[in-house]
Amino acid sequence: MTRGATKYLPLLPVYLIYLVLFLVAEGMPGMWQLMAMLVFYCAVGQAFNIFLGMTGYVNFGYVAFLALGTYGMALSIYHFHQLPLGVGIVLLGLLLAVVMAVLLALMVGAVALRLGGAYFAIATIGVNEGFRYLIEGTKIWGGSEGIIFSKQLLDTFGREVANKLSTFWADVSVLIIAALAALITLHFIRGKTGYALMALREDEEAAKVMGINVTKYKLIAFVTSAALAGLIGAMAWGLKLTYVFPPEAFDISYTVEGIIIVMLGGAGTLLGPVVGGLLYGLAKYWLTVILPGFQLLIFAPIIIVVVVAFPEGIVGMLRQRLKGTPFEPFVL
């Protein structure tokens, strides 16, 4: 096999998992929503991993990017549905989602990424809450009542297509975004960016004197991660639910879930956030059924055990075990 092809081998298990999820959703009645939830958590894990996992920086304001993506889709369909764009309105929504998430990431990142780890984390806590109160207080974008755009979606596409968009294509798009995120992650890990991020994660000062513009590479990871989060928000929350409501969109528990998924699966790995997303999603689903309301209480000790027992996460540990075996090239 050529070197070029072996480079992409680690994508195989990731895409295989996504294919299975899709086939189960399509083939087994009643499974669609559960599979959609799992894909959502995998996608969020992957998007978050590009920043949290690869730089070692924690962003507590992460959900703000998902929220802005949701607003991007909502604003596009709510305000521009009369334009003769057809499905183009959804693409415009995606574009707006990415632009808004990226702008926020640039603004926050250019300032906060000059700070060291813990200071950065504290600086980002305010971003999420601040943005929510900005929307509610200034009454822009529907203020605290949010935006409901199901009517506009119906008017534009008619009942059948609108339904198909929000019950099928929204979820499938998240799967595609997740697949895209995996490709970007692999490209980063194997490329120059990955080396820069590895170095700054391990020792930022040493990375600087080695010639790495650490602020630039942190910003690259931050903006990429934000753009993917914006896309996920636009589809998984925007187009799927056809409304956006600030307390839900800016709910900080999604940030915490993202951190758990990345740590559980293996920070900075390619397969880790997918494994973490699957495990977290399944466990959350069952715990909600068995012990409603207790899922976070149960997850707290689990994550402590994981961090202590295998700090590199499940996939990080798996990689160690598989060294020297034929499976090695597939797990990254």
Binding site: M198, D203, K208, V209, M210, G211
Partner: protein, 244 residues
């Protein structure tokens, strides 16, 4: 490289006090001085971790006082640390490849070429058997060698070594000194080695020695002359060098 009367204060403490120093291409210089005499601060001023409170830093005639560390690295300033700072979870090869990717060759080579450059320097310092080990698992001496390989892979013009030989067996020091001399001859790199008390390394390697004392430059002269200086003997060595 030229330091023009640089001063760095930490609160009331003057860590480096109006130190001037010129380093020509291909020079081998030793900086000696007791703990706390300002050696490491001086390195941080040259590599850009600190900004001097007074004075300017020049490199190849250009004022680099306001350049961030990574840009100085691109120009050709490399350093190792007193306490080794490997990228622990990455392999030795990946560590050294970082040097190749982001040093003076940055933007000119890709990851695969960087690996080749890395392999060459790993071989030069004799770490080929440890190439695929995580750098964090190396012995302290191996970590020092790995840092030197990583710095050399940056293809620098000036290499600043901070206590690179501390804790090494005298035989290993002699080997390393011979290696560094060879690198200097072949690649024309100016090498500055900073040592606290390993006179063997200074005498063996440096052609010129700067002695620091309480943040000031006390002596800057050819090695034998500097270490024979009466003030150096009194304050630092305690006895004439022949007896040490």
């Amino acid at each position: 490289m030229k330091l023009d009367r640089v001063t760095k204060r930490f609160g009331g403490l003057v860590a480096v006090n109006e130190v001037s120093l010129e380093i020509e291409q291909g020079e081998l210089i030793g900086i000696v001085g007791p703990n706390g005499s300002g050696k490491t601060t001086l390195y941080n001023l040259i590599s850009g971790i600190y900004h001097p409170d007074e004075g300017r830093v020049f490199f190849e005639g250009r004022d680099i006082t306001d350049l961030p560390p990574y840009e100085r690295a691109h120009l050709g300033i490399a350093r190792t640390f007193q306490i080794s700072r490997p990228f622990g979870s990455a392999t030795v090869r990946e560590n050294v490849a970082v040097g190749a990717l982001f040093g003076t060759l940055h933007g000119q080579i890709g990851v695969e070429e960087a690996m080749e450059v890395a392999d060459r320097y790993i071989e030069l310092v004799g770490l080929t058997p440890e190439r695929d080990k995580p750098a964090g698992a190396l012995t302290p001496v191996e970590k020092k060698l790995m840092e030197i390989a990583r710095a050399l892979a940056m293809r620098p013009k000036l290499l600043l070594m901070d206590e690179a030989m501390a804790g090494m067996h005298p035989k290993d020091i002699d080997k390393l000194v011979a290696f560094l001399r060879k690198v200097r001859d072949e690649e024309g790199i100016a090498i500055v080695a900073m040592v606290e008390h390993i006179m063997r390394a200074v005498v063996g390697m440096a052609e010129r020695v700067m002695v620091m004392h309480q943040g000031r430059k006390m002596v800057d002269a050819p090695t034998a002359e500097a270490l024979g200086d009466q003030r150096v003997v009194d304050i630092y060595l305690g006895r004439p060098l022949e007896e040490v």
